[in-house]
């Protein structure tokens, strides 16, 4: 059984953008971790924090960059009425 030793956060504090910022992800032993600094062997967990909010937001918004291939697939859909598309407020940040 893997024995985990939590790494303390810096004395100056840390920032995390997450629906449950205090929670650690669960160790599932399903192979390599999925995020950038996860353990490739999947034997330990990583909780992502930053020293400031900007760092958190940059990492979070990395998943919200425009994708031309997806935009083309969406534009190619036919027989969609104007009021069929849900109103999606654009996020302007970072």
């Amino acid at each position: 059984m893997t024995r985990l030793r939590p790494v303390p956060l810096p004395d100056s504090g840390a920032v995390r953008v997450h629906p449950a910022p205090e929670a650690l992800p669960q160790l599932r032993h399903e192979g390599a971790g999925r995020n950038r600094f996860d353990d490739p062997r999947g034997s330990f967990l990583m909780r992502y924090t930053a020293e400031n909010l900007r760092g958190c937001l940059v990492e979070t918004m990395a998943r919200f960059r425009p994708n031309p291939a997806a935009d083309a697939l969406l534009a190619a859909v036919e027989f969609v009425d104007a009021d069929d598309d849900p109103v999606s407020p654009m996020v302007q940040a970072v």
Binding site: R34, N67, A70, L73, V77
Partner: protein, 136 residues
């Protein structure tokens, strides 16, 4: 170990589990109805690799399953990923997740992966990206 630091269960884990169970017990036409109401018929149609939105609407109106097993599988994956994300964030965030470049998918968008890749490969990749998004 300090119990204030490690929380073995979280809202994210609960949402993921609930979305999985819903995807198993919810009929395909109801999954389609839910997706039309959350991310919209355009996203739903495109993510299933289809171009005609009337196809998706017909499943709901007739309470019918898609004829192709492949499409049923893609619909379940889309439902599961969107349901988990919207339950933690919102339908808007689920839509943004689907259409945006994703680092876990070599900068492809989950919607494009689901629409164009073989369903088994797409399922594994999109669900892993969704869970990484919720847990990271």
């Amino acid at each position: 170990m300090d119990s204030a630091v490690v929380h073995p269960s979280s809202a994210v884990a609960d949402a993921w589990e609930a979305a999985y169970k819903e995807s198993v017990v919810t009929p395909a036409w109801e999954q389609a109805r839910h997706l039309i109401g959350s991310v919209g018929v355009r996203y739903t149609t495109a993510a299933l690799g289809l171009k005609d939105a009337r196809t998706v609407r017909n499943w709901v109106e007739r309470q019918a399953e898609p004829r192709e097993h492949d499409v049923v599988s893609r619909l379940a994956v889309l439902f599961r990923a969107a349901r988990a994300i919207e339950s933690i964030y919102s339908p808007t965030v689920a839509g943004a997740f689907l259409r945006s470049s994703n680092p876990q998918l070599d900068d492809e968008a989950p919607l494009a992966v689901l629409a164009t890749q073989p369903v088994g490969k797409a399922e594994q990749a999109v669900l892993a990206a969704a869970r990484a998004f919720l847990e990271g």
